[in-house]
Amino acid sequence: MGIEEKLPSGFLLTTVEGVAGYARKSSLWPATFGLACCAIEMMATGAGRFDLARFGMEVFRPSPRQADLMIVAGRVSQKMAPVLRQVYDQMPNPKWVISMGACASSGGMFNNYAVVQGVDHVVPVDIYLPGCPPRPEMLQDAILKLHDEIQHMKMGAHREVQVRELEAAALTATPVEDMKGLLR
């Protein structure tokens, strides 16, 4: 076939993207961005029983400049929204956002003057995590799904193509209001 067959044993071939994705997903540094109830579950995820250390990310960075994952854990008030955006802007690229819980994802049960109806009004969100609050297992599931997404993220020109493809796919996806039947 190609160069693969000529290699001596002990060699593996991969792509730069694959290696970079592997490195990126294995060294996520979450920022401590606890807001409300979900923050307690986020801390519980980092603590003994659920042990986020198994995925190499139990160290939450106090400074956004050292972090590349923002877990928005809790309701975002109108007063907090600019702060949240500032913290996001201070994080270096590449960076990801998990919107943890119903309030962060959509405003949840607080449809009123005080709460931002979804943190995606303020920052781009990669993973929406439902629940009030989500269990630590759910947060771990969201994180693992994000790991998968990061692993398969393209770079450079490939990334532009990928973004275009993703956008095209999103435009033809079934709208939520057309999803009928039991959500299972």
Partner: protein, 440 residues
């Protein structure tokens, strides 16, 4: 985000150092004449050591703090306003999310108020009251564990954090067994509790209490008398009785001055007069004293939970009045959730009256006589009061919470001014404010 308020070059474009919403200090407070080296540091609202989204505005001189002010409202959720648009039963779902570490206290304070307005305090079944007390005391332990854990985290004692969260999980397991949820349960309802304890719960609770007693010794051994822990907390955050009285501080802060003020003793509710427990006090007025009080309270709470287990006798868990009792007897159906099939059979096939009650309660809710009431419980952080006003409708006219986190936060300046920056962290951790309760 620091700035000196003097010597700002005027030819530069105006720069904002503080986060938006808080505004720029220049526009709020011009630099006073003749003062130099006045440094104002903004700590929070996004800061790992401020116990949530608390913003501390510190004026510092080197490492010492000359002035502190709290900036709050970063977690304002408008819960009190939302309550005015939900019926009396639905309100529980909102209030449980206020102070998210002491859910059962929020719920109980609210339900006691509604019951007082309805005039049905005496009709609430004994079993429901015992379950309430038991859950509140378990909640007190779990809240104190989080206080220890986050307080430890903020002071750099990471082991305290992992220990605290490890033991808290045991209590959350009980909550999940009894209510189905780890947090934000909405389990205590006006007139009783939402459903009876599941089979085997009492045994599980007894086992957990035994285990917690063992684990409690570990926590005790880890921190009490620990030289580093004492170095950070002894003599820090001093606030004496006069200051507590002037500022309305309650809870461990007040009890650390030696005054055994505890609403469970001074104005008992839910039958607390029938339980034997001691009110823990210290006379050190400092952060270490508050820590010791929390430890002692956890032990007392374990005693109360054991007494609750002895008191539990079979019986209803909701008032008999079918016009108030929420028809929510849940049973696990084939899909893992759902209303009790028995209840559905009853309302759909057997009793027209039951169907009418169900329909009225679920669509509209019950009416509460005109009046206003103040009910208070002793939450882990102090006096948690509810002032509610009814205009006779199916929804509250106004519900206001007197949350201890809000009131106790006033103590930050008196506890920290004149001390070091690091002591501010210890003082705030010892106050244990929960911003969800403070801002609501």
């Amino acid at each position: 985000m620091t700035q000196t308020t003097d010597k700002v070059p005027t030819d530069l474009p105006e720069r904002e150092y503080t986060v938006q919403g808080g505004g720029d200090w220049q526009t709020i407070l011009p630099a006073p004449e003749g003062e130099s080296e006045r440094l104002v540091v903004n700590m929070g609202p996004q800061h790992p050591s401020t116990h949530g989204v608390l913003r501390l505005i510190l004026e510092i001189e080197g490492e010492s703090v000359t002035q502190v002010r709290c900036g709050i409202g970063y977690l304002h959720t408008g819960i009190e306003k939302n309550l005015e648009y939900r019926n009396w039963t639905q309100g529980v779902t909102f209030v449980t999310r206020m102070d998210y570490l002491s859910n059962f206290f929020n719920e109980t304070a609210y339900c006691l108020g509604v019951e007082k307005l309805l005039g049905i305090e005496d009709q609430v079944p004994e079993r429901a009251q015992v379950i309430r007390v038991m859950l509140m005391e378990l909640n007190r332990i779990s809240s104190h564990f989080v206080c220890l854990a986050t307080g430890g985290l903020e002071l750099g004692a990471l082991t305290a954090m992992t220990v605290g969260f490890r033991d808290r999980e045991l209590i959350l397991d009980l909550f999940e067994l009894i209510t189905g949820l780890r947090m934000n349960q909405a389990y205590i309802r006006p007139g009783g509790v939402q459903q009876d304890l599941p089979a085997g719960a009492e045994k599980k609770i007894a086992e957990t209490v035994t285990l917690l007693r063992k684990r409690y010794k570990d926590t005790h051994a880890l921190l009490v008398g620990n030289a580093i822990w004492m170095g950070r907390t002894v003599g820090v955050g001093y606030q004496d009785l006069a200051a507590c009285m002037a500022l309305g501080a309650t809870g461990p802060i007040l009890r650390a001055t030696g005054l055994p003020h505890d609403l469970r003793k001074s104005q008992p509710y839910c039958g607390y007069e029938d339980y034997e427990f001691e009110v823990a006090t210290q006379d050190t007025c400092d952060a270490y004293g508050r820590f010791l009080i929390r430890l002692a309270e956890m032990e007392q709470s374990l005693n109360i939970v054991e007494q609750c287990l002895d008191k539990l006798s079979p019986g209803p868990v909701m008032v008999a009045d079918k016009k108030i009792a929420w028809p929510s007897q849940l049973a696990i159906g084939p899909d893992g959730m759902g209303n009790s099939l028995e209840h559905i059979r009853h309302i759909m096939g057997e009793s027209m009256e039951a169907l009418i009650h169900h329909f009225k309660l679920v669509t509209e809710g019950f009416r509460v006589p005109v009046g206003q009431v103040y009910s208070a419980v002793e939450s882990p952080r102090g006096e948690l009061g509810v002032h509610m006003v009814s205009d006779g409708g199916t929804r509250p006219y106004r519900v206001h919470y007197r949350d201890p986190s809000f009131v106790n936060l006033q103590s930050v300046p008196i506890q920290s001014e004149g001390g070091m920056i690091s002591d501010v962290v210890a003082a705030v951790a010892s106050i244990d404010p929960v911003m969800g309760g403070c801002d609501r």
